[in-house]
Symmetry: C2
Amino acid sequence: MSFNEQQPLRIGVVLFDGFESLDAFGPIEVFGTLTPKTKIVTLGQSPAFRPRGGPSVAVDYTFDQAPKLDLLIVPGGQGTRTLVNDQEFLDNLSALAASVPKVASVCTGSALLAKAGLLDGRKATSNKRSFQWVTTQSDKVHWVYESRWVDDGKYATSSGISAGIDLSLALVSKYFGIEQARKTAQQIEYVWNEDSTKDPFAAVNE
Amino acid sequence: MSFNEQQPLRIGVVLFDGFESLDAFGPIEVFGTLTPKTKIVTLGQSPAFRPRGGPSVAVDYTFDQAPKLDLLIVPGGQGTRTLVNDQEFLDNLSALAASVPKVASVCTGSALLAKAGLLDGRKATSNKRSFQWVTTQSDKVHWVYESRWVDDGKYATSSGISAGIDLSLALVSKYFGIEQARKTAQQIEYVWNEDSTKDPFAAVNE
């Protein structure tokens, strides 16, 4: 499938109280540079949410009113510690994920996907510093410690915070080609960690 | 001066229509991790602004109602192309900058500072792809092409988009020490470009 101005890649970013700024705004930056070949909306159960230490960010749609999406992005952050025990949120997330062909998480966003059972039988990764906590959310996931991101079929999960930028660029490559991904990395002056198996933070956090 | 929970580093982030997501949220991520030793507010002339392709972000204070700040951060983005010709905005920015001991810009944010005359006689840098446009905003600035960021007294200016994260970590080092800066970089799983003179994007954009 090819995306363009007439038929943009429709991206939904899930927001919640205590989401991590860069987990959401790294991907928003990467895909935002491709406007109007991309269209980004935010999704959540309140009109706005504050990330840790940051300003209030508006929600465009509640989960049940979400428009048709091609890609769903789930950030992590302190807020996930509460949300893994919020069955209503997990049910909403599962229902939304069921309607989207590709779902990506950043950092501890994979804890939410795992707890919702969405990663059962798949390979996945997460933030290195919270790895132990994340992996206790499900024993049905093949957790991969050393990986900048893991792309296993419908679900792609990234390592901590900035790794969401690397995963987003990999998804740009998937949807728009490797040359576009490299051009986007150059445009945002980001040194893209192009190899998903190269994880600079696996060793330091062991 | 030392900052702590009782006396946090007070940071103001300027927002405007068409600011670049990561220019603002890179620094917000870096300084946000240090909450409550930092306190971040957003400043602007409307209640909320949308970055390119991204969601609406709330403004906490208008310029003239800004609380006392220790550090002002000015992002770049497409919106700066209009704002360099908006004398009222530039006057407001100048008045605000006069009351803050340290001002940092990301990407084309330095075009705004330059046009307002705030960088006169100082060394400064900017986004590599927009460098020519930025430098035409003032011939009284000693523009430095090859530099990830330039810290010249009161004003620190960074190169494009992601470079704001590197500059922010350098400012964390200045306010909280180098060990804290390295710890923060590790926490957000970001490979910090610690050397301001090392500019990976100077050559590719020449």
